[in-house]
């Protein structure tokens, strides 16, 4: 939790809010890789087909 707070402070000081969407997407995909233990696209392929 303290990491999120610190990172938010960092974005505020640097005025780099535009990096936020990139980071969110990266973290989401990163999370998916960890959860699925493999490819990040695997869960989507499964839902489509």
């Amino acid at each position: 939790m303290s990491f999120i707070k610190e990172f938010w402070e960092f974005l505020k000081v640097r005025k780099k809010y535009w990096l936020l969407p990139i980071i969110i997407v990266l973290v989401l995909f990163g999370g998916l890789i960890v959860l699925t233990q493999g490819s990040a696209v695997a869960p989507f392929i499964y839902t489509i087909f």
């Binding site: 990172f7 640097r14 780099k16 990266l26």
Partner: protein, 611 residues
Amino acid sequence: MTSILGISAFYHDSAACLLKDGKIIAAAQEERFSRKKHDPRYPHHAVEFVLKYSNMKLSEIDQIVFFEKPFLKFERLLETYVAFAPRGFISFAKAMPLWLKEKLFQKNLLFNKLKKHDENFNSDENIFFSDHHLSHAASAFFPSPFEEAIVLTADGVGEWATTTVAVGKKNDLEIKKEIHFPHSLGLLYSAFTYYTGFKVNSGEYKLMGLAPYGSPTYEDKVKELVDIKDDGTFRLDQKYFNYATGLTMTNEKFHNLFGQKPRDPKNEKITQFHMDIAASIQKVTEEIMIKLAKAIRQEYNIKNLCLAGGVALNCVANGKILQEKIFDNIWIQPAAGDAGGSLGAALALWHIEQKKDRVVNSNDDMKGSYLGTEFNQEEIEKELKSAGANFEKLQYEDLISKTAEFLSNEKAIGWFQGRMEFGPRALGARSILGDPRSDKMQKNLNLKVKYRESFRPFAPSILREDLSDWFNINVDSPYMLLVADVNSKKKIEMNEEQKKLFGIDKLNIKRSKIPAVTHVDYSARIQTVTKETNKPYYDLISKFKEKTGCPVIVNTSFNVRGEPIVNSPTDAFNCFMGTELDYLVIGNCILEKSKQDPNLKKDYTKEFELD
């Protein structure tokens, strides 16, 4: 009493340093303990050492400071990838998992690593993060002998900055200007290191050593890559480089410009082409550094200059800045690379953040850079006995006299005394020594002792008081970071036929009274030695002078090619038995090669990966 632990890690040359009330107590690089050159891992052993040396537990340390800011570095990475997209996807895909898994959460990572030193360490509140170039600048200014100075730092890249100008006054230091990535003098030099077939972040020294064999015939082409302004600021034309987005330094356009592919070190020999390339990039680097130095001298009107960052290890360029007499005084941090960042980060926290006073030491505060491990006579004998060594114990005066005698008989000697050096140079604590007057010494040391390329020069250590008799320089150079020419009285001029010789053939000509330390262009990378900083070393050179009339000896680091400099008596004994060193002088013990058990000999040539 306040204690600060400084740490640099996770890129290359990780290190730790400990300050007590702003005084440097101990500092060491991790590679010396892990025996892996330029080790980038968390410096567990180095931290253990600085704590043990200071008699402290980690939980007793008041503040811990890391040498750079990981968030800012991550910002630079993301912005670079966005700017160059879709180029760089492969590099992006390789870098991101590492960052998301580990590097972005560096505070947590550091905390977990630190906890391994002491179970009672249980708060990350006192972990701070300095700025990469501020750490370099602090390491150059605060230990310097100046009240006021301009600080110039230049390296590959930190967070965003690659080159900075700072002004230091008493206990304050402020960065005034920066040049940002991807425009980097360090990376430009590294691109040529890669192109000539040496390892990036380690072979830059070889490129500099190769330069005097060539002529700068490619200077104009190098200038097509880099646009240099009158004030020394520069921009690199990114179309020739691949480091911002790819996994190599240079690209096809770069190779086409110079007309050859990068040299494959395993299959291709160094040719005159590579020597000319080395001479060209060296000349351009010097031009940039001199222009930068002139511009900041004029702008800030301060007479002292401090240098740090990897580029400050380019002692040839440093020597040129000195020669141009742009500044009255120059001081260079001996651990100018990232290892020194640990020291700078701790000093920045103490003086800038906590506004603590600074007492200027007229000699400088680095204690000769002898900040590392130390072994007493009892420990040395214990280690040597368990290694199976056969040694003789002597009184101090006999030890010095005998060693000087061996040196004058052209023997190669391993010299291990006192505290280990902090920084990449051996300064007479963990050194291999030889007689500079010998014609064969350079070849012998390169090929039989260090197992390295025959073109590489050796450096002289000279008594400070005799300096100007032997070299065209008369300022202190205790850290081997200034290059100057051999004095004309000691030179032996080449005849017309010899002058026509090219490259390495020139090296075989005797060019001075001290050929082993005279490069083909008559230059030498000098270390001045005084009684105050290293008494045994001073006494040894004095004795050698008494016997031979020559106050100079050859000093090279105590290791073989690709190996970190020796740290312990055991490392020293292993290196001694793995090479053709004749004697090892360690504490009060002398070891003679012919008296050692031949079964203890090692095949050392394959022990370390070539750099």
